[in-house]
């Protein structure tokens, strides 16, 4: 019973479903209202105000992204006033943004640039102070450039709403607002999963992947070095978007040629690694089911998921498959099996992986991902975007290249390896082989559609293998992963679980081409089209089961002996360990809360008791402010340690606590002086000279407003109206009120305390 609403947009009659926003309704008549903070798959923020329109009968402008149309509404999306206001808003954003477009990695791919053009900012009228921050490249995968951030909040929303991680939040307020990890610590020390989704949704270059192309160029130019490259299934399904081609084309063969043109000596296929992973993983699963140990078994090919599990779900680490990801298996084989085959010192082989993923950079640098002799499995992991840039930079016309062929012995793959790129693909590929391993017969009907397209929610299915009912589940995005694992914690029994860190699986990875007009990250159609490119390739393949891959079988014959052999373990498996800082799951974990150790300090004991007393109801988070008040009362300020404690005890992400603590003036994050001087700067006090009194205190104490003297004796603060306006100007020293203070009184007041 969907009600409809009739309205008029730019004099055109429109009829839409109730609840449709002006922006969506305008789209239906072919008007694209400029927007910025709006993202169709994230919650509505209404922050940037770029999308303003005029509504008849209203004095102010209306944000079209958040305002639903109402019956009879008359909207004007463009008029001279709206043009000027929009232009000015976009200019204000640019006024606080570096003028570095020519040297920016997102030049020509930047939504802000497009917007500046579209709204007509041709000169700058309101230039002024700009924010200043340092770039943070402490993470192995994600680079943060806060100066380019325009505070649209999309990254915060994707990290929270889609990924359920809340690694970042907005801290401080007003002009000082900034998107930061908890306590403004470096990204490398945060709970970031390196998924790169923030990069995908960011309209500017404020989030980028870490650039490893330099080392690749260097290796390519070195005649001593043999360069080997592999690329992931999803790279071929999306790379065309970076060259202006429609979404959903599979350019596998053209990429092979392009890589050769770039100068790589060998071009291998990560799909070979995928087939190999399936054989190892399926036999691992068969073993675990037989022995009934460490079930459910959870896939481990997604690097973001692995990093996430080590920080958020350490208790589940025994459940992860010990198999390395296809990329790392490939790398290991390149440095061991392949190097021996071509008789080359592994030290002289440079192994590159082109991935749809940013977290793979992290994975490639894991301590365990090298041979005992110290040869890295993957020397450089680059994203689809980096590869696009390398191809463009070399002037290679990808679209018109002839097809190329992969090299042996790591180039052959089956349709099962191809579908790894889509959510549910690993599961389907594993089932195709597990059935064979367990029964010696093939799965009736090769496709297993119930586990495909786990985009809107987790998918659950049951398969009958040799009379045993195997319960499986698939989740894509770390948010859905948490939903699924929550049900596991509650006791829902599964045998096998596939988790991919990004929505839609690798096709939606954090390293995929930037948004254009057609490809909006997180868009379900986009994800389905890219996945379809892989499913079609699978359908067309002659071999569609991993155990049919001849090169893989040869590998077992020549080197690994059998599935899960001792050698296979040495070469292809890994281990996981709990990592700090620990993350807080979206829905909170009771055990973590209960096991939280309260330090001996009586203040912590009191705080702990207080938290337990107030948080008895189900709105966990609402008690944060009272708890922070209590903490400040006990400790005098909010220390990082105290906030960490609160985070675990209340199961609220630290970034959120930091965001709240820095929002309110009342909370301070540093200890205050013994004597707190608080000058009222309310209106009445100001007009009676409080400003001069402040200047005098600053002069005499040698500190600025908001600071504490080095000896810790005095801190100088301001307050807004304490309601003693009749006695203005008023100064509070600790809690004593001094009224009608004159500049000349300051010396005396300081002397007395």
């Amino acid at each position: 019973m969907s009600e409809t609403i009739k309205c008029k947009i730019d004099n055109v009659d429109v009829e839409v479903k109730k609840g449709t926003t002006i922006l969506e309704a305008a789209k239906q008549i072919g008007v694209k209202v400029p927007s910025l903070c709006y993202h169709p798959y994230l919650s509505i923020e209404g922050a940037c105000r770029v999308c303003i329109v005029e509504v008849k009968g209203r004095n102010d402008y209306v944000a079209s992204c958040s305002q639903p149309v109402t019956e009879g509404m008359e909207v004007t999306t463009h008029s001279p006033q709206i043009h000027q206001a929009r232009r000015d808003i976009v200019e204000l954003i640019l006024d606080n943004h570096p003028d570095e477009c020519h040297t920016c990695e997102r030049d020509h791919n930047c939504e802000l640039q497009r917007l500046a053009y579209a709204t007509g900012v041709r000169d700058k009228l309101f230039k002024g102070e700009k924010k200043r921050y340092k770039k943070d490249d402490s993470s192995k995968s994600v680079v943060r450039d806060p100066e380019k951030c325009i505070l649209c909040g999309r990254c915060v929303r994707v990290c929270n709403e889609i990924q359920g991680i809340s690694c970042i939040d907005i801290a401080h307020r007003g002009f000082q607002s900034a998107v930061v990890p908890a306590f403004e610590k470096p990204f490398g020390e945060s709970v970031c999963s390196s998924c790169g989704q923030c990069i995908n949704v960011c309209p500017t270059a404020a989030f980028l992947e870490k650039d490893y192309t330099n080392s690749v160029w260097k290796a390519l130019a070195d005649p001593e070095i043999t360069t080997v490259v592999q690329f992931a299934p999803s790279v071929r399904a999306a790379i065309g978007e970076g060259f202006g081609l429609p979404v959903g084309l599979n350019l596998e063969r053209k990429i092979v040629t392009a890589l050769r043109r770039l100068g790589f000596n060998y071009v291998f296929d990560t799909q070979f690694g995928a087939d190999l992973t399936i054989l190892e993983e399926a036999s691992e699963l068969a073993h675990r089911i037989k022995e009934n140990v460490n079930l459910p078994m959870i896939t481990s090919c997604s690097a973001a998921w692995v990093k996430f599990s080590e920080q958020f779900y350490p208790e589940l680490l025994p459940n992860l498959s010990t198999c390395m990801s296809p990329m790392s298996m490939m790398g290991s084989l390149i440095k061991r099996y392949f190097s021996e085959k071509i008789g080359k010192d592994p030290a002289k082989i440079f192994s590159v992986a082109a991935m749809c993923c940013t977290a793979k950079k992290d994975e490639s640098l894991r301590d365990s991902n090298e041979t005992p002799e110290g040869h890295r499995y993957v020397d450089a992991s680059i994203t689809t975007r980096e590869l696009i840039w390398m191809i463009k930079s070399a002037g290679i016309d990808l679209v018109h290249l002839p097809d190329g062929e992969f090299d042996h012995p790591l180039g052959e793959s089956t349709g099962a390896g191809t579908i790894f790129g889509a959510t549910g693909g690993v599961m389907e590929a594993a089932l195709r082989t597990a059935h064979f391993l367990l029964t010696g017969t093939e799965l009736p009907g090769i496709e297993f559609k119930p586990v495909r397209e786990a985009i809107d929610s987790v998918k659950v299915a049951e398969v009958d293998i040799a009379g045993t009912k195997i319960r499986v589940a698939v989740a894509s995005s770390l948010g859905h992963a948490q939903d699924l694992l929550e049900s596991v914690r509650l006791g829902v029994p599964y045998h096998f679980i596939e988790i991919m860190g990004c929505l839609g699986g690798c096709v939606g990875g954090g390293g995929q081409p930037y948004a254009g007009t057609e490809n909006i990250p997180l868009d379900k159609d986009l994800l389905k089209k890219r996945a379809q490119a892989l499913y079609s390739a699978d359908e067309l393949s002659v071999k569609r089961r991993s155990h049919e891959n001849q090169d893989v079988n040869k590998l077992y014959e020549q080197a690994l002996e059998r599935y899960g052999s001792w050698k296979a373990h040495e070469w292809l498996h890994t281990h996981y360990e709990e990592k700090m800082p620990r993350g807080i799951c979206r829905s909170g974990k009771t055990e973590q809360k209960v096991n939280c150790v309260t330090p001996d300090d009586p203040r912590y004991q009191e705080l702990s008791a207080y938290i337990e007393q107030v948080t008895s109801d189900n709105h966990r988070r609402r008690h944060l402010l009272p708890v922070l008040h209590k903490t400040q009362e006990l400790f005098g300020y909010l220390s990082t340690e105290a906030m960490d404690f609160i985070s675990v005890k209340m199961q609220i992400a630290t970034s959120r606590i930091y965001g709240v603590a820095t929002f309110y003036h009342y909370f301070h994050l540093k200890p205050k002086g013994e004597t707190r001087i608080n000058v009222c700067l309310g209106t009445a006090c100001y007009v009676k000279g409080a400003g001069d009194v402040v200047a005098e205190f600053e002069k005499r104490l040698g500190i600025k407003m908001g600071e504490t003297s080095v000896d810790g004796k005095f801190s100088l603060e301001s307050t807004r109206c304490i309601g003693a306006c009749g006695l203005a100007p008023v100064v509070l020293i600790n809690d004593d009120v001094h009224s009608r203070v004159k500049v000349g009184d300051v010396k005396k007041m300081l002397g007395r305390t």
Binding site: E45, G46, A47, R49, I52, N59, D60, S66, Q67, A85, D88, I89, L92, D95, N96, F126, G128, E129, L151, G153, I170, H172, R173, G174, F175, S177, H619, R621, R622, L624, L625, P626, L628, H629, I652, R656, G659, V660, F663, Y664, H665, Y666, F667, L681, T683, A684, Y686, V687, R720, C721, I722, G723, A724, C725, G726, L727, A728, D736, V737, S739
Partner: protein, 598 residues
Amino acid sequence: MKKDYKYAISVCSGSKCLQLNNELIDIILHEIQRQGLEDQVKVTKSACLGYCEEGPLMVIHPDNITYARVQKDDIAEILSEHIKNRRWVTRLLFHRDQIANSFFPQFGDVDFFGKQYRITLRNCGVIDPESIDDYLAYRGYEALAKVLTVFSPQQVIDEIKRSGLRGRGGGGFPTGIKWQSGHDAVGDQKYMICNADEGDPGAFMDRSAIEGDPNTVIEGMIIGGYAVGASKGIVYIRAEYPLAIKRLQIAIAQARERNFLGKNILGSDFSFDIELRLGAGAFVCGEETALIASIEGKRGMPKPRPPFPTEKGLFDKPTVINNVETWANIPVIILDGAAHFASMGTEQSKGTKVFALAGAVRNTGLVEVQMGTTLREIIFDIGGGIRDDKAFKAVQTGGPSGGCLPSQYLDTPIDYNSLMAAGSIMGSGGMIVMDESTCMVDIAKFFLDFTQNESCGKCTPCREGTKRMLEILIRITEGAGQPDDIDKLLRLGTMIQKSSLCGLGKASPNPVLSTIKHFRHEYEAHIFDKKCPTKKCKNLLTYTIIDGKCIGCGLCKTNCPVSCISGEKKSPHSINQADCIHCGACFSSCKFEAIIRE
């Protein structure tokens, strides 16, 4: 008040006087005992009487005599003279001429009732705010009993609608209509919120109302809860108001004891309870959606409306938010009837409004007047006119969200619409009077600095736009104003007004736009002549030594922090203008008035 006491001494214990007066109260109690008056005299604390200038204050009931500037040593005399001998201590009496302009006509020998009319503050200073019995003696909780026994929820709403009450928090939204939508919204749980976040710098109406009579706010909320169908109430109050918090806590506890709060209130099947929430110093949290976010434990950032809180508020449940003063009006409306309330005020604005009058007036403090009273009456009759015989220049209402009105608007009646038409707003009740020595560019800068600092940072116009406007104002006051700066201020200001997400941003340009409108010449003097007409802006001042007057004592030279004064002893000195930092040290050190500042 217990019947058997003959007298009550009410001692002002507003935040300002409290410390001093706690000591005073001890002495009074001691003295009462000494003089054997325990059975006759009761001592109560009252909220800020609003006349801090003359504090400490004490009122003796039922005579309604007010003593001002009472010192410890005066107590014995007051008790023996006033109580025993029934003679006023004239030297401490609050003076007649002051009483003529009095803020509290009900106290003392007052024949001047005309200008003030107290509804919200009716009990402030009269009852002991820490005693529910006192409140009950003044018809407390009668309105609640009436509502629970004879009114249906819809009848309550209709009554509020008929009264014409509009929200006192600034927006002036009709309270009855708000309650109706809260009532009509579907939800298993609904909330009533009292907005006591009073963030306007220079306003303290809500604080005083709660300190003086917390029960009336609570009673208002219970009645609202009954009308809307809510079982939970939350008072969101500034953490900077410890006394108000304490008194609310006491009042809530006492109300629970008497079953005005809790389950099955007064035997009805209506249940309601109230909880306190402390703010943490963010002006924007006065905005309703930000306030809700803050109660939910989040950063206090506003959200786009719709959905409105009455549909989807706290924890996504229907929520009615009203200001302290709005709540305080409810019991009176119920008791005296909507018609009586509606008989006060103007066509568009009914009842009374409390203002915190401050700035350059003789009498500062709280004023409650009927809607329709003119600005002139408040400033000149009640406020006693401008201090130090200076001339009136402007009055600022609505705090950082309001505007500055010059003298031609003095006859504007206080009313939501007429203030708006004049280019300011009613706001929550801050009223700052400015005399001729105030620089209007400087004052605009002050307010914008405030809002810019308090911007939550969510939306572009407010976060970035106010910063740019402030930069322009700073450069104007520092003598670096550019010819098109006024146009830029107007252009940015209008855009910010129309495009910001919440009321903070939308109203932030008001002080600038209204001062440009009424005092454009001052802006122009700063920009084009590089002069500040009121000599407030330091950087625009030039100091020159007059040859004829300078005797060459060298005092200015010694005092100049940047050594830009030269001259031989006993011969006229001169200032090197290029190096001068305009600090004024020379000007204040010269004993011979040989330096001019212009």
